[in-house]
Structures are given as C-alpha cells and as structure tokens.
Symmetry: C2
Subunit: 344 residues, 2 copies
C-alpha cells in the first residue's frame, strides 16, 4: 500500500465536506486503489492550522472547527504555518487550494499553486481565480513539471465540464460556450420579478444565504465573468482574463424592464457567452432577454447551465440543479481521486 | 510507432462518418499518441465486405459504397466473410460493432462482442441491443479477459453519459435516472399537437427521415425501453432487460388528450424513468404530463435529455441537441481513442 499526502489550504464548508467524504471512503480507496490518502497540513485564515507529516486526525479537525470555531492550540500538531509556508516547506504530494477568492487578481491562490507545482507537487484548486487569471501559465508549468492539475469544482462544483476536454472533446473544436453561471443574480432577478424591491431582495437573500455579505461581485457580473473566462481558457484556449470580458451587471435592471420583458413572453437572465470571432475568443456577461419556455428560462434559483457547441459533437448542455456544499466537497474528492487513478 | 487494427461490423451512415473522422485525424493520432490506427476488415449486410490484414484503403471503401452502393468485387481485398467469420478468425485488436439493432434479442451483436472478447480483443459497440440485453455478462467478460469495452454512442450518440461512471460518479451512488430518450415519439407528439392526424404525421416523418420505415419500435416505446435499460444497467447496476420495463407507447394518445393537457398548461412526453425501490431498480417508459415551461417540456424535436440523481453529486442534466450522423461517428471515434489512451 502506498500513501498520498494532501495539504489543504482553507478549511471552510467545502473543505470540511471534502474531509468527511475522504474519511468515509478511506478504506474503499485502500481496497480498490491501493492508496492510503492522508492529510498532513491544514491552514485557515484566522482559525489556526494543523501540521503533521504522519497525518492529521481529520475527524478531530472538523469537529474542533465546528464545535469550537478554531483548532485547539494545545494539540501537538497545532501549527501557525501560513498557507505559503506549508506550500514551500510542507511534506505533501498534492496541494488542495481552497482559500478565499480574490476575483480581481486570482491571488494568493495562483501563487500557492505555482510554488507547489514548481516543487513537483500535484495540484487541485477549488478556487476559480487562478483558472481565470493564470490558466495558461499554470497549465504549462504542470506539463513541464509532469504533475497533475485539476480544477473541476471552480465553475460548477464538480459537475463534469472541464474533464470533457480530456475525454469526449479531445479531437473536437469548441466553437461557442453559453451559460447562466452566477446563481445570485439568477435568484435576484427572479425575486425582483415577483414585485419586491432591490434592497428587500438583497436583504432576504443574505438571510437565507443566497446572497453574499458583499453582493457586488455577483451583482456587477464579476463572478460570472471569472467563470466564463475559466471555461473559455480551458475549453477554447482563449488566453483571456476577466478584464477582457465585455461585462454588464444587473444593478441597473429595473422592475419596469422586467415587466416589459414579461409582456413580450420573455425573461431577463444574466447570460455568459463566448465565441470565436475572426480567430479570437470574444466573451461577454450581460443581462439578456430569453424566451419564456426556452431552455435558458427554466434555469432557476441556484441551478446553473453550460452549453457547449462543437464542430464534431454538436451542441450539448449540462445543468447543475440546486447544488449543496456536499457537492463541492465531492467534486474536490473526485479531482484528488483522478490523480490517484492516473498512478495506478 | 505501434499499430492498432480495427474490424468494422456494419458500414452504414455512422460507420462511414466514423471512417472519415478516423482518416482525417490519422496523422494527429500518430503524432500525439504514437499509434497508427488501421482498419483490417469491414462487413455489411448486403453490400459485400473488405478484408486485408495490412489495412484497407478507407477512402476507397466509403467512396465505393456512396457512389456504387456496394464494394467492388474486382479488388483483391474484397471479401465474402460474414461478420461472425471476421470476429472469429480476423486479424484485429478492436471489434467495432455497428450492425443493425434487433431490439428484442440484442443479437447477433451481443455474440459478436462476446466472441471477440473471448479472443482477447477490445470492443466498441454503437448497437444498444447488447447493453440492454447482455451488459452484465459482457462487462464481466471484459474484466476477466482484461480487455476494454466501450459503448458511449448507444444512448446519446457519444454525448458523455456512460463515461461519467468511471470519472465523476465513481464514488457516488446513482439513485434515479429520468429522461426523454426517443426522438421519434418526441417529434410525433409535437406534430400531433399541431392538429395533424397520426397517419399524416408518420408519413411526413418518414419523408424527412425522423420516422423509420417500421415506426412500431419507436411508437410502442421499445427503443426508449432499450435505452433506459442500458442506462440503468450501467449506471445503477440494475441487471434488467427491456422486458422488465413497465412500458406504454404513444400509439393510443389522442388529439383530445393533447388538447386536455394543453388546457392544464402541460404537454405529453414519452418519459423514461428508473429508480431504486426497496433495493431493486424499477423502470418505466410512459407518456406523461409535464409542466409547460419546465425542463422536460423544452426538449423538442430530435433532442434528448438524461437526468441523473446521485447521493453526493446532486442532480445533473445532460441534453443532446439535434444530433446529426457525424456525431455518432465522432462518438465511436472517441470510444476507440479511449482504448488507445489507456495504452499510452
């Protein structure tokens, strides 16, 4: 039996969901694949960290965070190492990047991945920033260093999009990608259509957890722009950043516009688009009118959709329905297992 | 450089589309993967065959069929070998099963695959019969013989469904599968809703190629039953055959029922369903009322949809839009390349 050592940067909801799935499947992975997967390091922003090359007791880790809000400093594997210190000096085989997103820079997540791969470590990221801002560089680095690099959860929580490139679409050319990728705006537009006012919708959305404390990244289309950029970089070799996306948010959408759309049998959705124009990939994020009863109009609430048009495989649509946090955890788990599967 | 030899059983539209894609990508496969893929045998029902262990001139093969309707007996690689003779005695590494479907038996396609795998050959099938009738046996045989066995085109022409099992869903449990899998009935129901009568719709459908010469397999739900059986066998280990599906076709749907549905804001679709009930997988194919404006109602014409519900990955939907024959050809090509990729 061989051992695969993970270092987890970030240990929020998705990180803990991942840890639980990993723990639950530990024996099955040993039995089926001959690998024991252990976690040697965990870092958080303000809740302390853990580090032990022999392996951390994962169950104790998530229990401490959930019951006491932080790691217990009395344990001998308690650690004050920063994420970058773990990346640069830690003992691990795979870095799992789950730190908070900075949508305008992709940092420090991108640096974590870069430094880890430079050390010859495999990398998994649940953080879309690096894929939106530094995909080409990171991909090239992973090839030079012969390490594996996966990021399936960054746009649709693990619903298979990116791995289509290696599998189904390998000899296809993707010519167009459309989608509804930001669920906050989807929710806000639906609530506005019910006649509520904007402040009321935002306040209620925050209460039920559909809207972030600072909703501007979603409302102004930055989150959607980062996601369509990631998709276009990976599936169409676009080589763009979120700055290159022609972006309009929903902050100026009025109830009158929504009513006018309704009177034409249409609804307003924040659509993401990317297509080849004169050999270049052009990307946009904009509120658009879509036909009521058409496919885009049925994507409601926290669901999202990606539509991929190809030369040889026609057009295919993938919808993720109302994901929960377990799903992102499972997506990260799938990426880690893909690394193991490529060994055996 | 190594050589991979294919034998093609059947050389209809999908087979020729496959041959063209293979030929177009021949050099790229050599460059990227180090394998030259050649075709050593082709059989057809009534248009003759070709056999040459050194490799057939594929371009000549499809040109002869398309221009003269059959292979030219004057060529020295012309062959009268039957499909089973090629399977049992031919020189090949991968059998590509594309013979006509017998929906009530899965034969002789299943026997072709079985005999080929017993000889230690890899297998790709575009024929859904074997997956609906003999999946468990064939899968087990492929494992015993350490050969690869792919069938991605059998339900959705290569749109990725089955390969999710190996990738994304590996540690997930699928609890439910729903879909609209038969496009002929989808088309017929839509045309009936326009007020046309049944005979008129069937006649017009035959003219434009949406309805088969004998439409009963589609109309009575057998095709849909075979497809949901294939999905359930692979993704839920159902171990069933099309006979086990609770099946009702659309032959008794009246215009009055369609109008009544419309008055309730609904449409009638031939829905395929499978779910776990008391530990057993129960399957049905039935005309059902679906909400207008809901996801199932937007699947129109020759598009189809599969919805997969899982324990850890939530629910995901995959839609194939208006496929053409190239797509099936590309799907078969993808399956063949998957075999190569697993070598390198």
């Amino acid at each position: 039996m061989r051992t695969l050592k993970l270092a987890l940067l970030g240990f929020g909801n998705a990180g803990r969901a991942f840890a639980k799935i990993l723990e639950n499947n530990k024996q099955e992975i040993i039995d089926k694949m001959g690998y024991e997967i252990i976690v040697t390091g965990i870092t958080t922003g303000s809740r302390g960290g853990l580090y032990s090359p022999a392996g951390i007791d994962l169950k104790r880790a998530w229990t401490e965070l959930e019951e006491q809000g932080r790691f217990n400093q009395a344990h001998k594997d308690y650690s004050d190492m920063t994420s970058m210190e773990i990346v640069e000096k830690g003992d691990y085989d795979v870095i799992v990047e789950m730190t908070p997103l900075d949508i305008f820079t992709g940092q420090p997540a991108a640096d974590h991945l870069r430094k880890a791969m430079e050390r010859g470590k495999h990398a998994v990221t649940a953080n879309k920033g690096p894929i939106a801002w530094y995909y080409d560089e990171l991909k090239k680095l992973s090839e030079e260093k012969h390490v594996q690099f996966y990021y399936e959860t960054t746009v649709m929580d693990g619903t298979p999009i990116f791995n289509l490139k290696d599998e189904t679409l390998k000899f296809c050319k993707v010519t167009e990608i459309n989608g509804i990728l930001n669920t906050t705006t989807n929710y806000v537009l639906e609530e506005l259509a019910k006649g509520k006012n904007y402040d009321e919708v935002i306040a209620e959305g925050k209460r039920i957890g559909f809207v972030e404390a600072d909703p501007s990244m979603d409302i102004e289309g930055w989150d959607a722009a980062a996601k369509i950029t990631a998709l276009l970089n990976v599936l169409m070799d676009a080589g763009i950043t979120p700055k290159d996306v022609d972006r309009t948010g929903i902050q100026n959408i009025t109830i009158a516009q929504i009513r006018e759309a309704e009177s034409q049998g249409k609804v307003i959705k924040l659509l993401c688009r990317g297509s080849l124009e004169n050999g270049r990939v052009m990307a946009s994020v904009k509120p658009e009118l879509v036909e009521k009863g058409g496919l885009m109009s049925v994507i409601e609430g926290t669901s999202s959709v990606v539509q991929i048009t190809t030369d040889l495989m026609g057009k295919l649509t993938i919808i993720e329905h109302d994901p929960d946090l377990i799903q992102t955890g499972y997506g990260i788990f799938s990426d880690v297992l893909r690394i193991v599967r490529n060994f055996v």
